[in-house]
C-alpha cells in the first residue's frame, strides 16, 4: 500500500481488520459486501472480521440494520491515548494562556502517517460555539503545523511530499518542490505560516516544540480568521513564548531547535 519497504510479518486478519477500520473512517457507513468489494475479499470473510470487531465495540451496526460504522470503544481508547502524551499534558496550560492572550484558537499537532493530527485544541476565548478539533487530520503541506513538522523531520517530508498533494483551496501549494523550498525559511525563522491554504477564511502560524532529546515532536499553532492576517508581532511573540515554554517543560536543551543538517 504505502512505501513500506520493510515488514512483511503482519498478521493477516489483524491487517484486514485495520483496513476495515480505515475504510469506515473514510466512508462513514458501509455494508458487508461493500467492504468486501473494497478489499477484494469474499463477504463471508469480511463478515467474520466485522463481527469480531463489533464484539469489542470497535465497530457498531446502526439500528437501521445492515450498515456498519465505527464503534464507541474507539473513543475511550483515544481518550486514554491522549492522556499518555506528555507533550499534550504539558502544552495544555500554555496553550490556554496563548489563546487568552491572542484571542484566537490554538492547536497542537503531531505527525501521523505523513499528515498532521490535532492533539489538542483550545478554543477562541469568546463565547462562540466551536467544533472540537482534536482528532482532526490536516495535510502537512497545507498547514502551518505541517510545514513546521516537515521542516524538522526529513522522513516525514520525504513521505508526505512523495505523493500527490491535494489542493484544498485555490491557494494550496501543490508542487512538492515549492513546498520544500518554503521549509528552508521555516527552519530559519522557526515559524511556519499558512494563509488560506487549507480552509478559506482561515490562516495560521505555527512554531516547533522540542522534547528532551532536542528533537521536534510536535508543533503549536495560532489559528485566526484571514481578515486578521498577517499576525501581529504580539501574536507571533506569544506563540514563540508558548512554544519555548512547552519545550522547556519537556526538558528540551535548546529552543529554537537546531535545524537538521540541510541536504544542500
Amino acid at each position: 500500500m504505502g512505501a513500506m519497504t520493510e515488514g512483511e510479518s503482519v498478521i493477516q486478519s489483524i491487517d484486514r481488520a485495520a483496513k476495515i477500520l480505515a475504510l469506515l473512517q473514510g466512508s462513514r457507513r458501509m455494508g458487508i459486501s461493500e467492504l468486501a468489494a473494497a478489499l477484494d475479499l469474499p463477504p463471508s470473510t469480511v463478515h467474520g472480521i466485522v463481527k469480531s470487531l463489533q464484539a469489542h465495540g470497535l465497530v457498531a451496526q446502526q439500528p437501521s440494520g445492515n450498515r456498519y460504522v465505527l464503534g464507541p470503544a474507539l473513543l475511550k481508547l483515544s481518550s486514554v491515548y491522549l492522556d499518555t502524551l506528555d507533550v499534550r499534558a504539558r502544552a495544555m496550560r500554555w496553550m490556554h494562556e496563548l489563546s487568552s492572550r491572542t484571542g484566537f484558537a490554538t492547536r497542537l499537532g503531531a505527525e501521523l502517517f505523513g499528515e498532521v493530527i490535532v492533539i489538542h485544541h483550545d478554543r477562541r476565548p469568546d463565547g462562540t460555539e466551536q467544533m472540537p478539533e482534536t482528532g482532526l487530520t490536516i495535510p502537512s503541506h497545507a498547514s502551518a503545523l505541517g510545514k513546521v513538522l516537515l521542516a524538522y523531520d526529513a522522513a516525514h517530508a520525504t513521505d508526505a511530499l512523495s505523493r500527490p498533494l491535494a489542493a484544498l483551496t485555490a491557494d494550496t501549494v501543490t508542487d512538492p518542490d515549492r513546498v520544500r523550498e518554503g521549509l528552508e525559511e521555516v527552519r530559519r525563522q522557526a515559524l511556519g505560516f499558512e494563509n488560506e491554504e487549507a480552509v478559506i477564511g482561515e490562516s495560521s502560524v505555527a512554531a516547533p516544540i522540542c522534547a528532551e532529546d532536542g528533537e521536534v515532536v510536535a508543533a503549536v499553532a495560532v489559528v485566526m480568521p484571514s481578515n486578521e492576517w498577517p499576525p501581529t508581532d504580539a501574536v507571533v511573540g506569544a506563540l514563540r513564548d508558548a512554544a519555548r515554554s512547552i519545550s522547556r517543560d519537556l526538558g528540551a536543551p535548546t529552543w529554537p531547535p537546531r535545524p537538521p543538517a540541510p541536504a544542500g
Copy 2:
C-alpha cells in the same frame, strides 16, 4: 469478560488484539512480556499481534524503547466516530446554549458496555482552563447520566448492576438494589441526580434524550460544583428544555419519554 452468553465465532487474533488494546487502555504503558503474562500467552505470539497493530498506528512504542502505548490512529478513528453520531451533531448547539445559560459545563453521554461514555462536552463559559472530557467513561451507577440511561434501558441496567459496584467516593451507592430503587424516581421525573457520588466537589443533573423511535439513546447533564448544589429551578428548567429540543431535532415523537413497562 462480560456476560456474553452468545457469540463464539470471534476470530482469535482479532479478539486478542482487541484485548491488548484494552489492556493498554488500563495500564498505559506495557512491555511485551507483561502483556503476554496478562493474556497467558507466549511472548512471541503477543509480539506478532502488537507489531501488526503498530503497523497501522493503533499502538506505538515509546522512544524509550521497549514499552508500548496506544497509537495515534485511534485518535483519528474516534474523531470520525464522533462525526457519525447524529445525536451529537444535533446536541452540540443546544448544549452550548445550556452552558451559556447556566454557567456550568454540560456533558452528553451514551452507554458503552455498561458504563457511560462522554460523547460531547461543553465547557463552563468562564475563561477557566478545563480538561476536555469527551471520551471519558464513568460508572453508570455513580453518575446522573448513568442513572438516566439505566432507567430507560433494561438491558443496560441488568448488565451494569450485575457486577460489583465500585465506590468512587464516600457517597457512592454501591448496593445494586438501592440503585435500582432510585431508577423508579428517575423515570417519574425524567431526571437523574448525583451529588458527589463520582467525584468529590462535583455534582450533576441529567435528562434523557430520545430518538426517532422514542427510545432513549443518550442523556445530557449539567455538571456543577457541589457548593452550588442543589440546582436551581432555572438550571433544571434549562436542562429539560435542552433535552426536549435535542430530542425534537432527532425526530422523537414525545418528550419526556414513555417509561418502559416496569417489571413490578
